[in-house]
Amino acid sequence: MSRVLARRERRAAWLFLAPAIVVLLLVAAWPLSKTFYLSLTDANFGNPDQYGFVGLRNYADVLDDRLWWKSLSNTLFFTVASVGIETVLGIAIALLLNQAIPGRGMLRASILIPWAIPVVVSAKIWEWMLHDQFGVINAVLIHLGVIERGLAWMAEPGLALWVIVFVDVWITTPFMVLLILAGLQMISKEVLEAAYVDGVPAWRRFISITLPLLRPSIGVAVLFRTLDALRMFDLSYVLGGNSQKTMTVSIYARNQLVSFQQMGLGSAASTWVFFLVALAAILLIGLLKLHKPAEG
């Protein structure tokens, strides 16, 4: 290609990229840098124009707060449990839907319904179903003789976080199924048939062929879900409010910022959340080898 043409192509490329860059600067870079800037100050919501620089003290203060660590452990527990369960369920259901069973199209469409409902609505539905006196879940369990008295699900220390995990699994497993199903359909049927004719047992075909070939799809799904889970806010906030049993790091940051009006401290907490998510992304991309090209 001639130099003139190359230069013209490069200019066109920048022209096409410009809108995306502008939008990213406006909605991501600017708020992020603003948050980072505020995290170094003692700004207050009541009087946001008067503040002084306090260095990294806010960051240290967040780490000194027992509640921060409680929220962090809640968040990590929620992330590992929900993403883990969703991945296993997602693979299982995707394998099922990949079979030529009657009504497959209908099933595929209907499985998406929980995911299509807004999280706040789902959370409210489940809040009612789990109500200690009027909830249908307690009614069924009592009727079946599993429990004697209605459980206050969100008030039980050992249960509250599991309830949130359960509802999240209900909401987002379809997303997993969809991504993994797409990956399954990319696997050549003949590859599995070859293994079948060669006498490779079914479990071995799954472990040694299907799973490795699904790795990129599962990896992307796990990455998306993990990053989502680490900054989860709505589900916990609707079901648990400010309860420490279910508080996530996002709720913690929001409380510092909005409830306690501490813009500096809240911004520092937000920045910690950002670092947490970024670290998870880097680790997962490396661990799942998502930066490597897919096989085949």
Binding site: S188, E190, V191, E193, A194, A195, Y196, V197, D198, G199, V200, P201, R204, S208, I209, P212, L213, E295, G296
Partner: protein, 339 residues
Amino acid sequence: MASVTLTGAQKRFGNVTVISGVDLQIADGEFVVFVGPSGCGKSTLLRMIAGLEDFSGGSLQIGGKHMEDVMASKRGVAMVFQSYALYPHMTVARNIGFALETNGMPRAEIARKTREVAELLKIGKLLDRKPRELSGGQRQRVAIGRALVRSPDVFLFDEPLSNLDADLRTEMRAEIARLHKELGVTMIYVTHDQVEAMTLADRIVVLREGRIEQVGTPAELYAHPANEFVASFIGSPRMNFAAAADVPGRGMGGAVKLGVRPEAILLSSSGLAATLERVEDLGHEQLIYVRLENGRLWTLRAAKDADVPQPGAPIFLDWPDAATYGFDAAGRAVQRSAA
């Protein structure tokens, strides 16, 4: 090694019958090619023998044992797929050895067998590569190696060369023929390419719409096609056809349609009148397309240095009587009366 016998083999998908009552006996060590247009059921028949499709009716025997209800892996067959179907995440060595590995063979033994097969197929230097780092021909060799290493009684090939370019196809054709000669194992080979069928087969099975049209050696099928379909399918360029009434003086008793192979026709000063339309010079020979008076297009072959008239010129076609094929109203071949 084993013989393969199909008796009344049937396959239906719902209401659609894909294979309707196929009877076929394949001898131990024979190379049989299933050939036919797409949708004729040849691949389905092969997959039924492999155990990838079950029988809707009829039976299959391999080495004298009933196999139609036996798992694919217990039939003693190995299959090479059109897409090669290599495991994309495994090295060449692991691709070849994977089946042995899952059968619990010791590592050293697997490595030895893998190397042996790789040497035989001239892919010994590629053992550490992944399939995506191989050319089409190399992938095909790996796929054959994967089948070979299991020492199957019967080899099944499903259009193995159709994804290769012309040069490689010729090379791999020779390679498969060599393997068959060296191993002496029964091979069943599916193709839609009649050149592959003619060059590889001990016997060719011509299929159409789930039925066998004719079974025979390549020479038999070429010289004595049982019907119009086989006559038109075997031979390239394909046989020329015309209604018997349009070719005066060349008719055969009971034949309503006549056929003449392009290589039998000579340009002459008298005979069937036609107009020359187009000449294709292939270098080693010329293909001549002529239009008969009734509008049919016929093909002729002429030597590379033959003197061919200009397009548009009126010409006459002649051929030996023995080169005329006759077909009745149902398309069946009519025997030439010994006159």
